[in-house]
């Protein structure tokens, strides 16, 4: 009997240790997801190391009127804009902003989302749950970026406000997701076991439920960053986001719009940068989702 039990334990152990390994293995097999990861990591590295090879004042901001509206060349890979600035270098610098703000937004929405979502899910059916969910409904009933626009226009146009506003407007979706995850885990037997041992609610949520819910949360977080980057660009486009002369992609497109009819090429590069970044993130998110779900097509 004892050997039998030991054999079972041994069979279970290595599986848990290499669970992350198994997930990574499945992720790796997905060629598209891998490609997305490579692209995103490359972009990230390029953006992070930018201060090493680019000088903000000289390369990104300085206007050289004599050089304006030049097409792509060896010296300026994507050409120059209406102020003679090198577009390629501006795009690289813009990546820093997008990624930084994007992650900030997700940090905010994840924090709030996890706290509210797990409380609502764990105390499912209670007054707390109902109140929180009605609040979510209210926020979700305001379509699109309207809420963020309203918040930013009131609180002033700076980066922390932008991150907060967009974070708050994406929080309800994350909260709902966390709540659904927590709900489905809560009813499993090992939670009941923990509770019958007298473990405190807080402990249960943090140590038992959340680690199991983390999968879908991470997938949603990745896709959130992707959506966040588009949101930032949209806000900057209508003038409520990052202000010039900072080279945010959306702001660049806003400037390009004015010149659109005569110099259409200005529109292309920042857009492609956005598409590339967002696409790679989406592929990573989808790949993660597939890798976390063992019941695949086979």
């Amino acid at each position: 009997m004892a050997e039998y039990m030991k054999a079972i334990e041994e069979a279970a152990e290595p599986k848990r240790r290499s669970q992350i390994g198994a997930i990574w293995f499945r992720f790796r097999k997905n060629k598209l997801a891998l490609m997305g990861l490579i692209i995103f990591v490359t972009l990230g590295l390029v953006a992070l190391t930018a201060p090493l090879y680019l000088d903000f004042e000289k390369d990104v901001i300085e206007q050289t009127i004599s050089q304006r509206f030049k097409g792509p060349s060896a010296e300026h890979f994507f050409g120059t804009d209406q102020f003679g600035r090198d577009i390629f270098k501006r795009i690289i610098w813009g990546a820093r902003t997008s990624m930084f703000v994007g992650m900030g937004i997700v940090a905010v929405s994840m924090t709030g989302g996890i706290i509210f979502g797990s409380l609502a899910g764990y105390y499912d059916g209670s007054v707390l749950d109902n109140v929180l969910m009605r609040l979510c409904d209210m926020f979700l009933a305001i379509p699109g970026t309207l809420l963020a626009i309203a918040l930013v226009s009131v609180s002033g146009n700076n980066i922390p406000n932008l991150i907060l506003a967009l974070g708050v407007s994406t929080m309800p979706k994350m909260a709902r997701l966390v709540r659904a995850s927590v709900l489905s885990i809560k009813n499993q037997e090992y939670i009941e076991a923990a509770r019958s041992c007298g473990t405190s609610d807080r402990r249960i949520i943090i140590s038992e439920i959340l680690p199991n819910a983390i999968g879908p949360i991470i997938v949603e977080a990745t896709l959130s960053v992707a959506r966040g980057i588009i949101s930032i660009a949209s806000m900057s486009f209508i003038g409520l986001g990052i202000q010039p002369p900072n080279p945010e992609w959306g702001a660049m497109l806003s400037e390009a719009k004015v010149q659109m009819i005569n110099h259409p090429y200005l529109v292309v590069a920042p857009g492609i940068a956005i598409v590339l970044t967002v696409m790679s993130l989406t592929l990573i998110g989808d790949g993660l989702r597939d890798a976390l779900d063992p019941k695949m097509k086979n």
């Binding site: 009605r134 609040l135 409904d137 209210m138 926020f139 009933a141 305001i142 379509p143 699109g144 970026t145 309207l146 626009i149 309203a150 918040l151 226009s153 009131v154 609180s155 992707a226 588009i230 660009a233 949209s234 486009f237 209508i238 003038g239 409520l240 959306g250 497109l253 390009a256 719009k257 659109m260 009819i261 259409p264 529109v267 292309v268 920042p270 857009g271 956005i274 598409v275 590339l276 967002v278 696409m279 989406t282 592929l283």
Partner: protein
């Protein structure tokens, strides 16, 4: 059935009140006093006080809010635009039909083509067609709608000169904006339709139908599609709601004088009543549309429909 509808309508009210409260609170935090904004800094102090009285801005926060809501419910009075001095309601209403036309075009395109391509992708799973469709949807969801709009303008209006660049006077003016606005949701609809079809095709009852020797055509369109489309109905409903709010930027790019451009202008000028009214208008409409979708869904799905039928009809016997 009516109990269901009434219950949902009643649940809508606190949500709408909540939205209005949130928006009103946000707007009261705006620095600057409305009356001063309207009359200018150099205006006479008495005139400012008088105007504040008229606008209902004196008194505490809650008093003002209740007065505001009271005006809306009892008189349909959303206040006066700080910018134009006209009643907000008329401003919003005149512009609304442009937004509606744009949203409608977008919904039509995204639903019809979304479902169509979704079905094609599912039926031809893993083929080149499927992969191509998947790639295109990925690209569409990865681009900001305003960029797509600009690129379409450059290609079709500027270079090929096939369609007008901006304005809203003819139906042709709504093609490019409609396409732009539909892109994101069309991509989403394609993905959802595809996965819903694929999921349904794996269902046991499809296997039963095959075992009965039912021809493939009836299997796809009769058995699979009918079931797969039900969740899509919900999607389209949610889409409509979001579409109404998501056209802001597109209106700006294409010069369509709808609610969206009104909103942006009002934000720049801190025209609070207009902002709140516009957002509330859109939010209310989208909530109503969501409700409508839920009701429609209950009519389509026989399982849910029977839940609401009278007891004597729905009888379960064992055996």
């Amino acid at each position: 059935m009516y109990k269901f509808i009434i219950k949902r309508l009643l649940m809508l009210i606190p949500v709408l009140l909540g939205i209005s409260f949130i928006l009103y609170s946000i707007m009261s935090l705006t620095p600057g006093d409305a009356a001063t904004l309207m009359l200018g800094d150099s205006a006479n102090e008495q005139a400012i006080l008088k105007l504040r009285e008229e606008l209902g801005l004196n008194g505490g926060f809650f008093e003002n809010y209740i007065r505001y809501i009271g005006n809306i419910i009892l008189h349909g009075d959303f206040g006066i635009s700080y910018r134009t001095r006209n009643p907000v309601f008329t401003e919003v209403l005149t512009r609304f039909h442009y937004t509606l036309r744009l949203a409608f075009t977008a919904i039509l395109i995204s639903t019809v083509f979304g479902v169509l391509f979704g079905i094609i992708a599912a039926v031809k799973q893993y083929s080149f067609t499927d992969n191509f469709i998947t790639a295109v949807t990925l690209a569409l969801t990865s681009m900001p709608d305003f960029w797509l709009g600009m690129m379409l303008i450059i290609i079709f209006a500027v270079t090929l000169k096939l369609l007008p660049i901006s304005g809203a006077t003819s139906w042709r003016h709504f093609i490019l904006p409609g396409l732009t606005a539909s892109a994101n949701y069309m991509a989403y609809t394609i993905r959802q339709t595809r996965s819903s079809m694929l999921e349904t095709i794996r269902m046991d009852y499809v296997r039963t139908a095959r075992a009965k020797g039912v021809p493939e055509g009836k299997i796809v369109f009769g058995h699979t599609l009918k079931n797969a489309l039900m969740p899509i109905v919900t999607l389209v409903g949610v889409n409509m709601g979001w579409q109404l709010g998501g056209t802001i930027i597109i209106e700006q790019i294409f010069g369509i004088p709808g609610l969206g451009s009104l909103l942006i202008m009002s934000i720049r000028l801190k025209d609070t009543p207009v902002i709140i009214a516009s957002v509330m208008f859109v939010a209310t409409l989208s909530s109503l549309i969501n409700l409508g979708t839920d009701i429609l869904y209950a009519f389509i799905d026989p399982r849910i429909k029977s839940l609401y039928q009278t007891k004597k009809k729905a009888v379960k016997t064992s055996g």
